[in-house]
Amino acid sequence: MGHVENGLKALRARGYSFRMLGAHLRANEIPSAQGWPRLLEKHKHDPGDTAVTTRWCAVLSDILNGSVRYGDRSVSVYEFPDRSVVDLAALTVQSRVDPNSLYATAFPVPLSQPLLGTLSSDPVFTKVEQFGSGSVRLLACVKRFVRSREEISVGDLPDGLRAQFSDFQEVIGVRCGYVQGVDAIVIHPSAKRIEIHIDHCCPLNTDELILARRRYVVQLQRWLAEARGVPEVLLPTPRNWFPSIQPLYNSPDGKVTNLGHSTASASVKDERMRRRTDDLRQEPFHVGGLAGVQNATNLYSITKAWTGASDVKTSPAVTIPGHFSMVGSQSPNIDFVMLTGCDSSSDFDLLMSKLL
């Protein structure tokens, strides 16, 4: 197996966007193809020229490094009244990495399925990064379970089994496997803020996300308590993003691609544009509908996208994923946001600048 093929397989294991990969390959004059199987076949052997192989591998390594830090994720933000706890957190996480773990030695390349299967599902702190601003990022690798449903062709089954399923029009199999996630605790002392990033390298429902996040909250609280020599330190309640939905809608920049709202005329709307490049706020039915209800509607969820700054045409997007029941609540709360379509720190920082 060649080095380039290895790099591509690592991206495939992360579920990296094939569309974005294609754009990167074309931008860097690396041969591309339709679909993973054909792409891997094309790169089965490295180019004969070592310099070319090195260049291509460097491109793939950059993509992978960007993906593990800025790929699709939910972000929860904890804001502190003063920076003392945040400063302590930035200090205490420095010594929490296990550099000899299987995850750390392979990072950022994901471990193989068989190897992941032997590991516990506890996160393993793998890498700590420091920035000129004083911010610190602590990365954690974690095994996540995935289930996928596939149709099984009865015709392909051995004779005996085929007969048993002869009365069935469809046979569906459920395949269980693992994906390696890369979560992060990101600490910004100057902004008095701690973020917890949960990597959405595989589908995660809200309950799974909250459970994953809770492990980091509990761990960080324990470290802070140890560092302070006190029984307990509690993080503040994560920032509530529900109040940010209306300002995001009102701000004329970017494009609103999805909107959930509940009208005073007693309807619930989940509107979305077919194209990522279109803005719902200019769509005639939406505009006419709002005029028809005299703008008397309560927003409960939104997805808004902007054009990314990188060479590859990205559409980083923020989603505040509420439910229509929230508009009936006195204090609706959504304590995480989804950031998707980011390919680089500039994409990610762009989204955070729109939120904070």
């Binding site: 966007s17 094939f18 569309r19 679909g35 993973w36 077919r274 769509e283």
Partner: protein, 139 residues
């Protein structure tokens, strides 16, 4: 080509070329009237059903009218394709991707890069006037 030019040309050709098939001529005329009388923003995703309602014709005649209006000679309509995956996400795909899928019997999810089983039932056709373009695909 501008909206006005395309429509004038199309009306002219329908009038001249389809004299011998009055039902088809009328159906094409109705569809062209729809394109002429509707704002561009409301012509960006025309389904077969919408064109059938406009044509006041049955399925077969509507299909013939669409084929004629999107053919090489008239080019008033263009055919576009979208793939809808199991998570109800919509992806616009190019006519060349569709041709390749039909030719090789394989279609790859644009985002996941994996082969899509039963893709023929997940790719849908829609239409736009030829003078409109889409940022996302070569449609």
């Amino acid at each position: 080509m501008t909206h006005k030019f395309v429509l004038e040309d199309a009306f002219g050709r329908v009038s001249a070329d389809l004299n011998g098939v009055p039902d088809l001529q009328i159906a094409c005329g109705h569809i062209l009237n729809l394109l002429d009388e509707t704002k561009d923003v409301n012509l960006r995703h025309l389904t077969f059903g919408m064109l059938k309602n406009a044509s006041l014709a049955d399925d077969e005649l509507t299909a013939q009218a669409i084929a004629y209006l999107s053919g090489d000679v008239v080019r008033a309509l263009k055919m576009c394709f979208e793939f809808i995956d199991e998570e109800n996400r919509i992806f616009h795909i190019s006519p060349s991707d569709v041709r390749n899928a039909e030719r090789f019997g394989e279609f790859f999810h644009p985002e996941k890069g994996e082969a899509v089983p039963d893709f023929q039932n997940k790719v849908y056709v829609y239409f736009m006037p030829s003078w409109l373009t889409s940022e996302e695909s070569d449609c």
